[in-house]
């Protein structure tokens, strides 16, 4: 019996030891369960690092532009050239001129809900689309979608039930990102929208935007 008690004491000690260890490890396990794991932090790192690389590029481009402006102040002709180039660039991205470029065309043969449309546009922006056209209408800053009785509207204008969304950007990246496992096509399929065709396009024509964001309340501030 004495031997049995010794075994029980040792076992109880081990039980207590492991119990306490498990308890102390609980916050770590919880952290992993809530997503703060090593691989997810690594994912965050890759995104912030990518953003920083882009910011460095932008800073370099701005430094060049600053140098050009510094020179342009001295010469009216140079100034005019530089200002015209900058205006043309902004008009291009702002949807004020007809444009074109490579990209993808997404045909959705069934009606989709408003959140799905908002998510699709967000996905395309996230992949890096330079311009987005929805059923012939170019999206610009302030463009909005609404839904009424199952029908989608863009900036107050009704969209056809069969949607054609065109995105100008790196065609391969857009195509692969939309079609990858867990990508937007799969998300639509899971929601019962199976009539979705995505095609790479060598050239997409981008019309000018017919929508302009208001400027009644927002005034330039110093």
């Amino acid at each position: 019996m004495k031997k049995g008690y010794i075994v029980v004491v040792v076992a109880m000690f081990a039980l207590g030891f492991f119990g306490v260890k498990q308890f102390l490890m609980y916050p770590e396990i919880e952290r992993i369960k809530t997503g703060e794991s090593v691989s997810l932090v690594a994912g965050q790192i890759s995104i912030v690092a990518k953003g920083n690389a882009e910011n460095r590029k932008l800073l370099a481009a701005l430094e060049v532009q600053k140098g050009q402006y510094a020179d342009a102040v001295k010469s009216r002709e140079e100034a005019s050239k530089l200002l015209s180039t900058d205006i043309a660039g902004l008009r291009l991205v702002g949807g004020e001129v007809v444009a074109s470029g490579t990209g993808v065309e997404i045909k959705i043969g069934q009606s989709i809900a408003l959140p799905q449309m908002v998510d699709l546009v967000n996905t395309l922006k996230n992949i890096g689309a330079d311009a987005i056209v929805v059923s012939g209408k170019r999206l610009v800053l302030g463009s909005y979608f609404t839904e009424n009785e199952g029908r989608l509207y863009l900036n107050g204008e009704a969209l056809p039930e069969e949607l054609v969304v065109e995105a100008v950007g790196e065609a391969g990246l857009l195509y692969d990102s939309l079609l990858r496992v867990g990508g937007f096509k799969e998300a639509l399929n899971q929601a019962g929208i199976n009539d979705v065709t995505i095609t790479k396009k060598e050239k997409l024509a981008v019309p000018t935007s017919t929508y302009k964001l208001g400027s009644v309340y927002a005034k330039e501030s110093k």
């Binding site: 994912g43 660039g89 902004l90 991205v93 001129v97 800053l141 927002a218």
Partner: protein, 276 residues
């Protein structure tokens, strides 16, 4: 011996009966019974040990299963990565400050060109283009909307429904544009036409910058129209279901002057070219 003595005292030869009486008196079980009891005790101890061993086994296995891939220390990889992430976020802030400074210097040159009356027309056009695209700071009447996770969200009761998602921000921003918003920023990050709002782990990424709850939306526009749109629960049904059922917070304040900074990133297009 005691049984023998009792047998002698009682004058009985039936030693066995004396022994039984003695055992009954002293509560000593019969040898057969004793063996049985001993056997039962051993069985109980054995079962007890078996149960404890089983418990220890479960705990040992749990310990082994939560073992991290890092053989040296379970949290050291995490600590190193978290440190790297913090450094990168610090670098991001530094780069953004440098970009803003350089942009300001360019703006000064552009203003100089405008003021010098040389190319003043072009300078004015450029100024308007920048204003329209969110590349200039603006101020005006509007709203400040604060969205926050439910109070217990960081505790044990956290659920998918008790936190503000990137999708909520996207839906609210889309709704605000539809109600006539003229400029929007989330935590002073200007929303421009290329802005995407995405979720990564438990933070939200806007223009490659990370934000966490609470989210402060600054909106310029007709404050009454904007408020009416936000008050329409039917247009944000999923969000308001979670506000009412899960404690997500939304606070709307109308104000005469909301300041929204300029976008400090690039709007340049790589794949888009003028003309067909």
């Amino acid at each position: 011996m005691r049984a023998l003595a009792l047998g002698f005292l009682y004058g009985r030869t039936d030693l066995a009966r004396c022994k039984i009486r003695m055992r009954q008196k002293m509560k000593i079980p019969h040898p057969h019974l004793r063996r049985e009891i001993l056997h039962r005790d051993q069985l109980q101890t054995g079962l007890f040990l078996l149960l404890i061993s089983f418990g220890v086994g479960i705990l040992v296995i749990s310990q082994l299963r939560v073992k991290f891939s890092n053989p040296t220390h379970p949290v050291s990889y995490y600590a190193v990565l978290k440190g790297t992430l913090d450094d990168l976020i610090g670098e991001q802030a530094q780069l953004k400050a440098q970009i803003a400074e350089t942009q300001n210097e360019i703006n000064k040159y552009q203003l100089e060109l405008h003021d010098a009356n040389a190319n003043s027309e072009l300078s004015g056009v450029l100024k308007n283009e920048k204003l329209a695209l969110g590349l200039a700071p603006v101020a005006g009447e509007g709203l400040v909307v604060v969205l926050a996770d439910a109070k217990n969200a960081s505790g044990a009761d956290e659920t998918n429904d008790s936190i503000v998602h990137a999708a909520d921000l996207r839906d609210i921003i889309n709704l605000l544009w539809s109600a006539g918003a003229e400029a929007i920023a989330v935590d002073d990050e200007r929303i421009v036409q290329t802005s995407s709002i995405d979720c990564i782990v438990n933070t939200i990424l806007i223009n490659e910058s990370k934000f966490g709850s609470p989210f402060r939306l600054s909106v310029i526009g007709n404050s009454q129209k904007l408020q009416d749109a936000l008050a329409d629960h039917g247009r944000l049904s999923d969000f308001y279901r979670r506000v009412e059922g899960n404690g997500i917070k939304i606070e709307i304040t109308a104000t005469k002057k909301v300041y929204i900074p300029a976008y400090d990133g690039s709007l340049g297009a790589t794949y888009l070219h003028e003309g067909v």
